[in-house]
């Protein structure tokens, strides 16, 4: 099994795909205080994170996913990385960090790793909301897309969650691109990605 064609992705992906870590076992009675779910099985992938957070630190994590090998491996890797991590740091994990730890993914598979951190953030947001701190991390790790109006990728994500499905819908909710319009290409790429994930 040592030749380059014996497996499609990296050996790390293979290990996490064949022996995924921290998959939720319904019989173990895992106690969580934060839950997040993202994705849509119509699009072929959906992920769920359950966290036990103690004093703003992730004490333990479990997950489930309907998805391809890359999705399973990246969620598994993410679940290992966040154990013992503060929730603010975990909230700022980028898909790129996970892809690097996995030894890389083909370009058309990067999408699969994006869902994991979105499900994780949804779980942390859930924890914050349950503790009267709703939206506290809204701008953590956000990337400004429209510099004229200071609109971030998180704002676009939120607009899609609220129902924006196209450029006009996004503009109605955020006013993005109404000044110089230079952000339109980048914003539309994100819009497409988020519609795929959340719609």
């Amino acid at each position: 099994m040592s030749d380059a064609f014996a497996w499609l992705y990296s050996d790390v992906v293979k290990e996490h795909f064949t022996n995924p870590k921290n998959v939720l076992n319904p019989d173990e009675g895992f106690v969580s205080n934060a839950e997040g779910m993202t994705g849509n099985i119509k699009c072929g992938d959906q992920m769920m994170f359950l966290l036990r957070i103690e004093g703003d630190v992730i004490a333990d994590a479990r997950w489930k996913t309907y998805g391809c090998a890359s999705a399973i491996a990246s969620t598994s890797m993410l679940s290992e990385v966040i154990k013992g991590m503060g929730i603010k740091e975990a909230y700022n994990i980028k898909p790129d960090d996970i892809v690097k730890r996995l030894g890389g993914l083909p370009d058309n598979k990067i999408h699969c790793s994006v869902l994991g951190d979105k499900a994780l953030r949804a779980a942390i947001d859930d924890y914050l909301a349950k503790n009267g701190r709703e939206g506290e991390f809204r701008n953590e790790g956000a990337r400004i897309i429209c510099s004229c109006l200071n609109i971030s990728d998180r704002d676009i994500e939120e607009a899609v969650k609220q129902g924006a499905r196209d450029w006009n819908g996004l503009q109605e909710r955020t006013k993005i691109g109404t000044v110089c319009g230079g952000c339109k290409t980048a914003a539309e790429e994100l819009l497409h990605e988020y519609v795929h994930i959340f719609a």
Binding site: Q46, K64, G67, C68, A71, C112
Partner: protein, 391 residues
């Protein structure tokens, strides 16, 4: 698992087939005949005789009375494109321009039809029923005095459904339209007769019937107009220029002859294995859905949806066990859309993402089928256990 138990099982024969040893041996022997089959000298005449013998063999496999109307091409995609290019020229010159095809065609027909659509030809993509069969009432309603071509694949590559060819050709004929069929997956697997099917044009590929890649054929009924896609020399009566692919064509002829001689035995044996596999999977994996037509289906093709498990993950799990299959999942193709064929049959995207195509072949054994059945259950159970989707 015990390494000794690991097998290598190829179950992707609809993607391509291995070269038959007899065909391979004949092609290697033929490599000594290097002459250009268009040359007038003795060596050229000998090479040409082999080409013409192969043509007669291919014609015999599909019941074509006139071998001259079998034109060798580089494969199924070229044959299909030649027909659509012909329609482009006919449509520009005449009043009929309507193209009627289906939503479940191979991408080379779909994209050729979309090209004509972009060129201003009215194109209809017919729906299919839950088994993948063309709805004849919809076909009748879509075909009229403006229809130039009806193009319907004989057997589907993903789900194996075989169309009612005589009925479809009857509708096309009654409207005065040409009828083309992409029979790439049917030829060599089921009995094909161009007269019974009433085709004006029919596409064939060699590498699906244990011959070499890079060679195919287009049958055109005597009198059916044909415009070359590749212009040049006078080969193939000017319908397809280019120096003869001697060894490929010879291999095609031999593979066609062997397929014809063994067709009944192949069909019965492979169908029994396919049904054994279907029954084994249905019995050992809860809540699966078998796609395609229950009877009018290729003897070797079994398409199954596994709710709750994703296709690429299933495919790669099987791959790790040495089992080679295909999937209709979007994740495997890198696109976001799952199989257009399954979606057309009304299978929801959730199920389409979790579908696997097992395509068996003449080398498939009962032991291989049982091995795959024994592996698929635990793989699906493992993926379902980590899935967010209840099924």
């Amino acid at each position: 698992m015990n390494r000794m138990e690991r097998r290598l099982v190829y179950m992707d024969y609809n993607a391509t087939t291995p070269l038959r040893p007899e065909v391979k041996a004949a092609m290697i022997e033929d490599l000594e005949v290097f002459a250009n089959a268009s040359s007038m000298h003795e060596a050229g005449r000998r090479a040409r005789a082999r080409v013409e013998e192969a043509r007669a063999r291919v014609a015999r496999l599909v019941g074509a009375d006139d071998p001259e109307r079998v034109i060798f091409t580089s494969g199924g995609s070229e044959s299909n494109n030649t027909v659509f290019a012909t329609m482009f020229h006919l449509g520009r010159a005449g009043s009929r321009r309507g193209i009627v095809t289906t939503k479940i065609e191979h991408p080379c027909v779909l994209n050729a039809a979309k090209w004509l659509e972009a060129e201003g030809f009215p194109v209809t993509f017919l729906d299919v029923d839950e088994y993948g069969m063309v709805r004849l009432d919809q076909l009748r309603a879509s075909v009229g005095p403006d229809t130039l071509l009806v193009s319907v694949m004989a057997a589907n590559n993903e789900i194996g459904t075989i169309q009612d060819m005589a009925a479809i050709s009857g509708v096309a004929k009654a409207a005065g339209a040409f009828f083309h069929s992409d029979a790439t997956q049917a030829v060599g697997k089921v009995r094909v007769d161009v007269r019974e099917w009433g085709v004006d044009y029919m596409t064939m590929s060699c590498h699906k019937l244990y011959g070499p890649k890079g060679v195919g054929a287009l049958y055109a009924r005597p009198g059916a107009p044909l415009e070359p896609l590749i212009r040049g020399g006078h080969q193939e009566h000017g319908f397809r220029a280019g120096t003869y692919n001697n060894q490929g064509i010879l291999g095609f002829g031999l593979a066609a002859d062997l397929a014809r001689a063994e067709l009944d035995e192949y069909s019965a044996r492979v169908r029994a294995l396919r049904n054994r596999m279907r029954d084994g999977i249905v019995a050992s994996v809860p809540k699966v859905r078998v796609n395609g037509h229950p009877e009018s289906v290729l003897p070797n093709t079994l398409n199954v949806s596994f709710p709750g498990a994703e296709g690429e993950a299933i495919l790669l799990s099987l791959d790790l066990e040495g089992i080679r299959v295909s999937t209709g999942s979007a994740c495997a193709s890198g696109s976001l859309e799952p199989s257009h064929v399954l979606l057309a049959t009304g299978v929801g995207p959730e199920l389409a993402h979790g579908s696997i195509r097992f395509s068996l072949g003449r080398d498939t054994t009962e032991a291989e089928v049982d091995y795959v059945v024994s592996k698929i259950g635990p793989i699906i159970a493992r993926l379902r256990a980590m899935s967010t989707v209840s099924y």
